[in-house]
Symmetry: C2
Subunit: 334 residues, 2 copies
DNA sequence: TTCTTTCATGTAATCGATTTCACAAGCAAG
DNA sequence: CTTGCTTGTGAAATCGATTACATGAAAGAA
């Protein structure tokens, strides 16, 4: 491997001078600078970042922990994070946690031992950030808050916009609106359920029925199963509020089986569907600001890496409620 | 930061002993081993990988360069790569090149200076791998070959299965089958075009018409535009072979505009569409083995990292031709 | 001219681990 | 009772950069 020592020898200068040239330091005479650059090119010298990092204690890598990059919502976040990072000379280490706390903590251990410059995480509900925080690695939480850990967070206004999303169904004339949400304890699931309940309360004037609020895993299968159960009720709902994109897709699939696609049974999906809707179906969609979440998270993290020392911030981004997917539309995600 | 020196002092041993304990080296007496482990836990010691890497010259990070993680085809590849890598203790650095040779070479420079343990790349047609190869960093090319660089590659059998895909349209009774493929010089685009041409030649007995073979950028817009041009021909095609998923989506969108969705105009998309087809549309699909491509690429790379020293291999994975998307189906990609 | 500054440069310490080497102790074989 | 092997241990060199400090030269001020 070609080191600065080789370059120094070839250029007839000291290693300090070579280092200065590569650091863009001005305290080098033009002649030597040129000689160093020539020697470096000649030898094919590429500085070794491991050595630099060890010395400077700075890493130019940020870890991104998401549940599953295959979910288009997280794909968009990842892409946005990478864009912001690259612009600033940082690379992104991608980690899929599959919502598994064990996998998550394993990755946090790796990130801490790296150590990376910072961490952006979509945390599980039992996340433990003490390791990176103790070691001074800044963390930004995205999409959800990180339990009791006091770190920057960027989330969507889940409760409020879920309320408006559920109201949309009432506005469209439906009266018995069910909810399919994620597992208990998952922040987004609970918040979205709360929004739905609020809407039902306001529009019907009574407490939401327990049997109309289904919990499921955030998956296609979960959405299907819950929908089937809802349809099997003595008095089934005439509309469904699905708390995420996968649940929405599952609901549509189940409704299709029994030929009850919208508008027969109304559907609003919280978060866009990865789909082309080929018929004007009237599936209602709210658009989660995925790209914006990722972008803000990366920006906030970089500020922390740059040394910003203020109390933890919590930003709430607005969800666009009420787009109706009709005609043919391609969406890769959200 | 807690270092092995702190641990050594606390445990009353030398740094060498601490290092041996963490390396799982057997040449340590039980008593001291325990003392070290206790001290380490007490102090919250996490070994610093930068220092380890500098010394061992080994990195546990592999770089993954894809055009765009938002394309579900590459999302799947990325996920598969990450899965294999994690199992073996490696992390994945995600890089989006956007098919931009400059961005690509910039990332390759970063990867070489890191240096990473290995590189998996979906290369542009003007890729230059000399930097990593000179530095002995193994490279595996996936989805496409890496120009004249002699590295392991995993690709789909594009030409052969494109031929079969185009034949499907003839089998369904269409006779004037057009092709929309990617830019000139892009391997997959050229191969798939070749497959289509072969099918036309065999089924019609004459050379394919030049005006029925459209080049476009691999994008939704490219597919739309090309489709519009095809439909505007004096004698327009009655079926379209779209050489990738985005082109396929674009074609469907354009056909929808003029109310000519399948089966009016036949469509086969080479590579799955990120969609839910809500009507039994008869869009024909070939399923690219995206996950399998990523998995094999990662496996081959790890073999190289482990020192496998045989001539470059080129694996060709089979494409499943002929699935028909009907009913409601959710596909995140391919 | 002489005294400060500023600039260019090199030497050597440093980052935090791993690993070679030397040495000592324990034990088996001759 | 040696000799030879294995095992446990620590001191010190090492990986490849950065950077504090020292030094000498040049430029500017008095």
């Amino acid at each position: 491997m070609v080191t600065i020592y080789d370059v120094a020898k070839a250029a007839g200068v000291s290693v300090a001078t070579v280092s200065r040239v590569f650091a863009g330091n001005s305290h080098v005479s033009a002649g030597r600078k040129e000689a160093v650059e020539e020697a470096a090119k000649e030898l094919g010298f590429v500085p070794n970042s491991m050595a630099r990092r060890l010395r400077t204690q700075h890493s130019e890598v940020i870890a991104l922990l998401v549940p599953d990059i295959e979910n288009p919502f997280f794909t968009l976040i990842a892409r946005a994070v990478e864009d912001v990072a690259r612009e600033r000379g940082y690379s992104v280490m991608l980690c899929n946690t599959d919502e598994d706390p064990e996998r998550e903590s394993e990755y946090l251990r790796v990130a801490a031992s790296e150590p990376v410059a910072g961490i952006i995480i979509v945390p599980t509900s039992s996340v433990d950030l003490s390791l990176p925080l103790e070691r001074g690695v800044p963390v930004v939480s995205v999409d959800r808050h990180a339990g009791s850990f006091d770190v920057d967070a960027v989330v969507a206004d889940n409760a409020e916009s879920s309320k408006r999303a559920a109201e949309l169904l009432f506005d469209h004339g439906y009266s018995r609106v069910a909810c399919i949400t994620g597992p208990m304890g998952v922040e987004t699931a609970d918040e979205r359920l709360r929004g739905w309940a609020e809407a039902v309360r306001e529009r019907t004037g009574s407490e939401p029925k327990a049997e109309l609020a289904k919990r499921a895993s955030y998956s296609l299968e979960g959405g299907e199963e819950a929908t089937r159960e809802l349809l099997a009720l003595p008095s089934p709902p005439d509309a469904i509020f699905a708390a995420n994109n996968r649940l929405g897709a599952g609901a549509l699939r189940a409704l299709h089986e029994v030929d009850s696609l919208p508008p027969k049974v109304g559907v609003v999906s919280f978060g866009g569907l990865p789909l082309i809707l080929l018929a004007p179906l009237g599936v209602l969609i709210t658009h989660l600001p995925a790209r914006e979440l990722g972008k803000r998270a990366a920006e906030m993290l970089l500020e922390r890496i740059d040394g910003l020392d203020i109390p933890a911030r919590s930003e709430v981004l607005e969800v666009q409620v009420g787009g109706e997917d009709s005609g043919i539309e391609l969406m890769y995600g959200q």
